[in-house]
Symmetry: C2
Subunit: 138 residues, 2 copies
DNA sequence: TTTCTCGATACAACAAATGTTACGAATTAT
DNA sequence: ATAATTCGTAACATTTGTTGTATCGAGAAA
């Protein structure tokens, strides 16, 4: 998905769901499903009709991986979260108490890092490669 | 599962898979499946025949949540791991580079914490409650 | 009006986890 | 030795979540 966003940032014309589906080796409907989250969050726009499709609509500098993560998927970064914050089971409570602090710190560390990485910083590396492959034509 | 281990630590007699299944509201076969990992790792023993079942076989002080985690499940703590360490895709490489360090630190933090919590330390809280409920009879 | 595109819904295919059934092997008691 | 109990294992069913597909309607452009 990030792939697509960076591609979109390098082209003024919108991409259709079908084109994106080819890039991602998937289906136009699936593309619409996942893009819907980004559209609702305002990071991309979609227009119908001929010549329509998806266009990027955010500031690459200000949009981070955390934003994308939140818009696309859930905030479920960990496999073992603390499902039940106040369980009846005594053992569960004991485990929660023992681990909650470390979990929160680990999660915050990761989330902070996601929030530090902008799309623009990814585009730097990506852009360089694309110049080489496709030429810098416009 | 931890529940069961702590219960076993408080009773000399072995528990049958059926008894454990009742505690966990599941099936004897499912119990055997998950206990198999603990057995192979040497944290519990199982004997067949009448009067048989599962017995704890480890030092509560020395066995940590990390040990149990490794024996029971996989070491897959994170939802988004770096699946492909050296991908063809340029975007993926850029993302990996940007996040790998933070991920490793977060993972290590959590793993270290798991390794610090012994079964004995859980048993302290648990034990207290059980005395009250079941009496300390013998 | 025709064509292109997204939006949305419903359904199918697939995979993973969990639950179930069944049978064999080991152990104990009689 | 025989019977009863219990684990070990394999095969199969059920459930759940994800992904893929088909279809139809609505909006926009030529």
């Amino acid at each position: 998905m990030l792939h697509v966003l960076l591609h979109m940032a390098r082209q003024a014309k919108p991409f259709t769901s079908e084109q994106i589906g080819e890039m991602l080796k998937t289906n136009p409907v699936v593309v619409r499903r996942t893009m819907a989250g980004l559209r609702d969050a305002g990071y991309v726009t979609s227009v119908t009709g001929p010549g329509g499709g998806w266009t990027i609509a955010c500031d690459l500098e200000k949009t981070t991986l955390l934003d994308i993560q939140k818009a696309v998927g859930g905030p479920n970064l960990f496999v073992i979260g603390i499902d039940n914050p106040n369980p009846v089971c005594a053992v569960e409570r004991a485990v929660n108490a023992a681990l909650s602090e470390a979990m929160e710190r680990a999660e915050r560390m990761l989330l902070d890092r996601l929030g530090e990485v902008s799309l623009a910083s990814l585009a730097i590396h990506f852009g360089g490669l694309c110049e080489g492959n496709h030429g810098s034509a416009k």
